[in-house]
Symmetry: C2
Subunit: 313 residues, 2 copies
């Protein structure tokens, strides 16, 4: 599929892309199944809650990005799967902690009661903590990558993306911006800064970790992936904000309309729905433009940019 055609195609109706995604989603599911602790032994409740939080749900956008980026560096799916699973574990932990009463206080996630509702708050806290540890445990698994130096760099990249200068820092900025009056709400540039950290850092990590599993890339190729990741990361958040305002709870599998109720600053509150949709389209075009120098190896990344912007849930 050429980059040009992938821009116009709707990935939802693209059989090849759909089949490719489904196969990789299943692969991730089976890797997660394998690496998550079994629900037996003295900490059985923790293990069961970790599985509940992680398995059988979600679009697995970050793993798909890792698999797609791996095609750029010609890495095997088998190798990428572990890196993709590590990113998904960080994402899963962040959802469990975000849903806690002291954060977003949400009761529904991926169509099921959130972890603290199904289990209890203390267990949900430990689930998030242990999922984060597990991400680093599997990324540092012996013999996952022959070049241990690359493996160390991958751990470093994921840790930085998750930490105070990445995802956790973005969450903090979000916390402080929530509940302000309309006049106090952050400017668009601040909103962008927040999301580059909150959502963008981990999406970037997914792309770069996927690419790191294969042949070494030129600096210009890495820069292209970085530009792409920045654009799809923001696009993902813009579309999330639009869907939160437009879609139903049943479609989303999580509580809809939450942003407005909580007084959260979003692209919809900052721009209105129509302009937010336009921005998402611009970011999709930016993502495709970033991929152009990478040629056909970046085809799946292009389809994923389309999927991220055109998705309905």
């Amino acid at each position: 599929m050429s980059v040009a055609s992938s821009r116009t195609a709707n990935p939802v109706s693209d059989v090849t892309f759909a089949a490719w995604s489904r196969e990789r989603q299943q692969r991730i599911e089976s890797v997660l199944e394998r690496v998550l602790p079994a629900g037996a032994g003295p900490a059985a409740r923790l293990a069961a809650a970790m599985r509940y939080a992680t398995l059988g749900g979600g679009k697995r956008v970050r793993p798909l990005l890792a698999f797609a980026a791996a095609q750029v560096s010609r890495a095997s799916d088998a190798r990428v799967a572990l890196a993709a699973a590590a990113v998904e574990l960080i994402h899963a932990y962040s959802l469990v902690h975000d849903d806690l009463p002291c954060m977003d206080d949400d009761v529904l996630r991926r169509g099921k009661p959130t972890v603290h509702v199904e289990y209890d708050e203390a267990t949900a806290l430990l689930v998030g903590d242990a999922l984060q540890s597990l991400a680093f445990q599997i990324l540092s698994q012996p013999d996952f990558i022959e070049n241990a130096k690359v493996q160390v760099e991958m751990v470093h990249l994921l840790a930085a993306a998750a930490g105070s200068r990445g995802m956790a820092g973005g969450q903090q900025i979000d916390l402080e911006a929530t509940g302000r009056t309309r006049e106090q709400r952050p400017e668009l540039s601040e909103l962008e800064f927040m999301h580059i950290h909150k959502t963008g850092a981990l999406i970037r990590a997914a792309v770069l970790l996927g690419a790191a599993c294969g042949e070494p890339l030129a600096a210009s190729e890495r820069a292209a992936l970085d530009r792409y990741a920045r654009a799809v990361g923001l696009a993902f958040q813009v579309v999330d904000d639009v869907l939160d305002a437009e879609a139903s709870t049943a479609t989303l599998g999580k509580t809809a309309g939450k942003d407005e109720k909580q007084g959260k600053p979003t692209y919809v509150t900052a721009l209105g729905r129509a302009a937010a949709r336009e921005l998402a389209e611009e970011l999709r075009a930016e993502a495709h433009a970033a991929l152009a120098p990478l040629g056909s190896r970046a085809g799946r990344l292009g389809s994923l940019a389309d999927f991220i912007v055109l998705r309905k849930f």
Copy 2:
């Protein structure tokens, strides 16, 4: 200092050991100062809270164990400092999360208000999350260890020690054992199992990570360190339980008498104070016996076993 003399000496009155500890505590403090995010920028509140949670307090027992174990493999203090700081960051994160209302609900730690009291619950949650990420970020710092394979193993060791089969798993077992009636309380063997995970796993990681910074050790030497770590890990917890029952809040810098009030199973509730003290002495002897084959290189580890058992806070 010979192993024999270190068994009888009181490390509190041992000038050499006291000076050695103080110097390393200062070194750890300055490494933590350097690696923690500065309290500026958009996530300034998170950065400040991370520093509040980590700096200027604590006995730094785990870093000291790492420095002492490094003498066995003849590693330089400069190198060990980073590994020691990584372990301390995991410990610091666990304290912040343990103190949250949904866990132990404590208001005092290291003589100061706990993080969720000084800041708020959501920030405390993020502080713990970001401290865990930071631990893996610094352990995977480029050029920390020339042998990247060893560095990957160190990350793996720390992640496993922190996770569901280590510290977090031990916390979960503790949660489930708390508040039971006297008849339902766990047996001594269950209590030991819980603490081998909750406290022991990270103490073992401190010892093994410190040793991993230097020359490769023989399997028998690693096994000796492992036996030592198991004994001091349990001894640490037994003494903690005794101090919680005996010492004042002012001495401990955290709320005393908390275990009994919360109906927590402890070595004191299981054995009584006198027998718990005896058990600590037995574990101290076990720790020294484990070190015997390592000779004088293990002198500091011996002093630390004494310090852990004889401490008053």
